[in-house]
């Protein structure tokens, strides 16, 4: 993975966080977080529950506004009021609960909110065929045995994951954040998800992987960022650290690196 890290090291960052802080009343969820993500870079964001990972992701995704600090995306300062604002500039999130509508088909979920339509005079009707074939293509790229016309409620955890990831492939996202994408799926599908992360990387998409699974992070990431008690405790190229060190940083056995 070392060559990938050097390849992207000189590129200008797609995402830059400067001094990001977030307080919920008296609770300080995040404090003075700086972070840079370059195109084609895969960052592992690690930390125990309550370390501030989710808050950081939600700030980048536009769910929360930071109390302090500045976000720059593609070189410009950005202020997101809603998730749509973040999506508009090219930030996609695969949520842990996947944000799928169970009562709709896989294809319908992939295209939710950006349906393909065909015009019949003044009326625009859904183009079911085009959406199903595009969704099948995306599932094919993911090597997922998912049929576009199946209802999501009948699907396995891995298939649901594929649907959620296929959604981010639809837009030309420049940063994809994945919240525990490999937590609840089969070993084989973990390989598939990691394969997809590589494909995103090849296309110059930056990926932020939020995960508890050390092997996945070390298999796919260029850099690992460790959060603890709302602060960034480590930010190292993956080949300069080890699972043991990261574990120590997460638990607090080692304060910073």
């Amino acid at each position: 993975m070392a060559n990938a890290e050097t390849a992207s090291a000189d590129a200008t960052p797609i995402l830059e966080l400067q001094g990001i802080g977030k307080e919920f009343g008296a609770i300080r969820a995040l404090h003075d977080v700086d972070l840079q993500v370059r195109p084609g870079e895969v960052i592992g964001l690690m930390g125990d529950n309550g370390a501030g990972k989710s808050t950081l992701v939600k700030i980048i995704a536009g769910n929360f506004r930071p109390t302090h600090g500045e976000i720059r995306f593609g070189g410009n300062a950005v202020h997101f009021n809603r998730p749509i604002d973040a999506r508009a500039v090219g930030i996609e999130v695969v949520y842990q609960d996947l944000a799928l509508a169970d009562n709709l088909t896989a294809a319908a979920n992939v295209f939710l909110g950006r349906e393909l339509k065909r015009k019949f005079g003044p009326i625009a009707l859904l183009d079911h065929k085009a959406m199903a074939s595009r969704a099948l293509e995306l599932f094919g790229e993911l090597r997922s045995e998912t049929r576009p016309d199946d209802l999501v409620k009948q699907m396995s955890g891995g298939q649901r994951q594929a649907v959620a990831i296929a959604r981010t492939r639809l837009s030309n996202a420049r940063l994809v954040m994945m919240d525990e994408p490999t937590a609840a799926i089969s070993v084989r599908q973990v390989e598939q998800v990691l394969g997809l992360i590589h494909r995103l990387k090849e296309q110059g998409v930056a990926v932020m992987l939020i995960s508890h699974r050390m092997p996945d992070v070390f298999a796919v990431c260029d850099r690992v960022v460790v959060m603890r008690r709302g602060e960034k405790r480590a930010d190292k190229p993956i080949h300069q650290t080890s699972p043991e060190e990261v574990t120590a940083l997460i638990t607090g056995a080692k304060e910073a690196a």
Binding site: R87, D102, R167
Partner: protein, 360 residues
């Protein structure tokens, strides 16, 4: 970490589900449709009068009198909401329509000079443009429905009030307004356009009751809107997972307001049609109809938890209730039993669906 991405995907471990486990056959609507068919056969043997042309027309007319409003409330139920104000809404639109029609047809009434003049005999009122009064008064009735729907939608989508409480309040507010504007008395569609009004609300075309024709047109339109437009897809998504709908950028607030407006308009249209059949719009018209309408929708397979429902189910529910009512009358069973039986059917329909979904 290279993946063999080029080889074609195969579905080795996922079988295609059987045809009877998919689509309508696996839905509550399908089961209730089957129950309806069985019931029709039973009725055929139980009463020689059931399948007569007159009785069929009667049945078709009667279920059409609630089915249009049921289509509207089905939209709301699919999003996971509820609208209890439909009964009051039917009455209010009917009252406004007949009051406007009467007012515009009375020489000396507000704005009437634009629409009518006296015939040479000094007694008969003649419309300046035949049908215009009817058009204006029906639009007035639908306009008030639109306003009430907007208020419902605003309170629920923008202020975040519970749909149950908001529309329960609206049930009372609108019913109160019905009594206020009429002073407790009934109002009657009158004037030179009244004949058109009756023809368009309770007449027949080629032996088919007019309300039934409206119902079929609206149901087909609804099917297209629900399954072939992005609005329909968003309605389902909202009922399936509101949070997901919001995260994927669906205009949740707008869609919610729209379904309550659609529901109110359907109820308003239904009320106007009923008043044409009754020949009047009393202030207590359609009291507690909201329960029939919601019962029909639920029996037909709309899920109050949201995400499931459709026009076929709405109509099947209405037909089933009407056939039972009609059957009890033909079988000379006391009509007091009817209401109890409707309750049993609501619970049975939901129970069968629950048992079925556990079996699979």
């Amino acid at each position: 970490m290279a993946m063999p991405l080029e080889s074609p995907i195969t579905f080795s471990n996922v079988g295609k589900s059987k045809w009877w486990q998919r689509g309508i056959f696996a839905s509550q609507t399908g089961y209730v449709l089957l129950a309806l068919a069985v019931l029709l056969v039973i009725m055929h043997f139980a009463s020689p009068y059931f399948f007569t042309e007159g009785n069929m027309q009667n049945v078709a007319k009667n279920f059409s009198f609630v089915a249009i409003a049921t289509l509207g409330v089905t939209f709301v139920i699919i999003t996971g909401g509820i609208d209890l104000s439909v009964g009051s809404m039917m009455c209010f639109s009917a009252i406004i329509t007949s009051m406007v029609m009467t007012e515009l047809s009375t020489p000396g009434g507000f704005g009437a000079s634009l629409f009518v003049h006296m015939a040479a005999d000094g007694k008969t009122v003649v419309a300046n443009i035949p049908g215009l009064i009817l058009l204006v008064s029906v639009l007035a009735g639908l306009l008030v429905a639109l306003l009430v729907g907007l208020v419902n939608g605003f309170c629920i989508a923008m202020l975040g009030l519970s749909p149950f409480v908001t529309t329960l309040g609206m049930l009372s507010i609108v019913r109160g307004l019905c009594y206020v504007v009429t002073n407790g008395r009934g109002s009657f569609p009158g004037g030179p356009d009244a004949d058109y009004f009756y023809a368009l609300t309770s007449g027949d075309v080629f032996g088919l009751p007019v309300p039934f024709i409206y119902l079929v047109i609206l149901a087909l339109t609804m099917a297209v809107v629900l399954h072939h437009t992005s609005f329909g897809r968003h309605v389902f998504a909202l009922g399936g997972n509101e949070k997901a709908a919001e995260l994927t950028g669906i205009p949740v607030v707008r869609v919610k307001i729209e379904v309550y407006v659609i529901c109110a308009l359907a109820a308003g249209l239904q009320g106007i049609i009923i008043s044409g059949w009754l020949g009047s719009a009393p202030a207590n018209m359609a009291t507690s109809y909201e329960l029939n309408v919601i019962a029909a929708a639920v029996i037909g397979g709309a899920n109050l938890a949201g995400g499931i429902g459709g026009p076929l189910g709405a109509i099947v529910g209405c037909v089933l209730l009407e056939v039972i009512r009609n059957g009890l009358v033909l079988a000379q069973v006391s009509s007091y039993w009817q209401q109890a039986l409707v309750g049993v059917i609501i619970i049975l329909a939901v129970l069968v669906d629950r048992i079925r979904s556990r079996m699979i």
